[in-house]
């Protein structure tokens, strides 16, 4: 299991005990996000839509790679990896 840090956008801090980051242990991207929602169940509805996919305007970066372009969330993660969740800039 790798130690992974998940960085959260400000609006979601309140659903993670007012923390900006959550440390999880996982061996894949899917597993890391699963750990996040297991620790903080209120996060589930805010990150994922009815089909179980990331919400349309939620971005998740694995280190510097946008996970939206990955074919599968079953991507290995390594010790010290960072997942950054943010809202897409979709208008202004």
């Amino acid at each position: 299991m790798a130690h992974v840090t998940i960085e959260l956008p400000t609006l979601l801090h309140r659903f993670a005990d007012d923390q900006s980051t959550v440390a999880v242990e996982a061996d894949s991207l899917r597993g890391a996000l699963g750990q996040l929602t297991a620790k903080h169940p209120a996060m589930q509805v805010h990150l994922f839509d009815e089909s179980g996919s990331l919400r349309e305007h939620v971005l998740c970066f694995h280190n510097d790679t946008n996970t939206r372009w990955m074919d599968t969330p079953d991507v290995p993660v390594g010790d010290g990896d960072r997942l950054t969740i943010m809202q897409a800039v979709s208008g202004g």
Binding site: F15, A42, V45, H46, E50, R55, H57, V58, Q87
Partner: protein, 352 residues
């Protein structure tokens, strides 16, 4: 008389509190800063329930027993897998009886038997035989009104924009459209008893068969529980508008007309509240203190409430974040000295 208002806006919830006079107010908030607060209510035991949402992170139900510590409901309203619907917003919450109900966009009704901790879909309405004919209006496909007979909670009326009113007489097990007498604005090829655009409902708490209906095309009333509706808009400055509220003691009605469905603004920039003191037969403007010109913000369907004091307090907010209060049943109005985000809901959560 101490009154607390919970004001839901595009960027959070605000609490306005007045001790005694109902003319001096303190403002606290925002609750859920950055989140839309789209629906609010307080149950008889004092629990406050909020509908929150975000265009990015979606909707949820939040509950608090002290207005300080909040908990997001984990088993909130959720469409069953495979129905292909999205939960876009929580529009209204009714927590006045043992079974709570809430209405959502895409149009649906959910119920809770544990004070809002878990919610289940009301299939008899959500999968109604007319569902294929439900079409969204300008505000979306939203179930925004829920009224329950205080003497018989098995009798329930709900309103869906651009669809109409449905009634259940058996505790939400079966539902029947109740739109006879109301013009259809979105005609369905198959289902001829829907396609009315209800904007708001007000029920006489002593006679649940007497219901007032703010409709897209006018103001209506039924005295037989929705079997038949008649127009009652004499004196109103416009047939269009959204909120309607009733003082349960005097049975006075309050509404805010807007200029037509095309404009949706106060007519000629004049912000007016109308009151009826005769069961909606006639309406008079009660607007002393409201802007007589240059007011161009709308008032949304959930953004008005009354406190049932003597005389009753009346409260409403507009889409420019202005909040107006009256401590004397609409005779005089004062603007709160605050500019809020777009106001979506106003609820009296405490009046002692």
């Amino acid at each position: 008389m101490t009154v607390q208002l919970l004001i839901g806006t595009d960027k959070g919830g605000f609490i306005a509190t007045s001790n005694g006079s109902r003319t001096n107010w303190t403002i606290d908030g925002p609750l859920f800063k950055g989140w839309k607060v789209t629906a609010t209510t307080r149950d008889p035991q004092g629990r406050v329930l909020l509908g929150t949402s975000s265009s990015v992170y979606g909707p949820a139900v939040q509950i608090s027993d002290d207005l300080k510590n909040w908990k997001q409901v984990e088993e909130g309203p959720k469409w069953p897998e495979g129905v292909g619907r999205k939960l876009n917003q929580i529009w209204t919450i009714n927590a006045g009886h043992d079974r709570y109900y809430l209405g959502v966009d895409e149009a649906g009704l959910f119920s809770s038997d544990d004070r809002g901790e878990t919610w289940q879909p009301v299939d008899a309405l959500n999968e109604h035989a007319t569902r294929s004919g439900w079409q969204p209006g300008a505000g979306g496909l939203c179930l925004h009104a829920i009224k329950i007979d205080p003497k018989n909670p098995d009798r329930i009326w709900i309103g869906i924009s651009a669809v109409g009113v449905f009634r259940s007489d058996d505790g939400a097990k079966t539902w029947t459209p109740k739109n006879n007498g109301v013009p259809i604005v979105l005609e369905d090829k198959q289902h001829k008893d829907i396609g009315c655009c209800v904007h708001g409902l007000a029920m006489d708490p002593d006679d649940a068969d007497l219901i007032y209906r703010r409709e897209h095309v006018g103001m209506f009333r039924t005295s037989d529980g929705g079997e038949n509706w008649q127009r009652n808009e004499q004196g109103l400055s416009s047939w269009f508008g959204f909120p309607i509220s009733m003082d349960r003691n005097t049975k006075n009605l309050f509404c805010v007309p807007l200029e037509s469905d095309e404009y949706r603004l106060p007519s000629n920039g004049k912000l007016e509240v109308f009151r009826s003191m005769d069961n909606g037969d006639t309406w008079q403007s009660v607007s002393n203190g409201l802007p007589s010109e240059h007011s161009y913000a709308g008032v949304l369907r959930g953004a008005m409430d009354v406190d049932h004091g003597s005389p009753c307090g009346v409260y409403f907010g507009n889409t420019s974040g202005e909040m107006y209060t009256s401590a004397d049943a609409g005779e005089h109005w004062t603007k709160l000295p605050i500019t809020l985000p777009r106001i979506m809901s106003v609820d009296v959560i405490s009046a002692d």
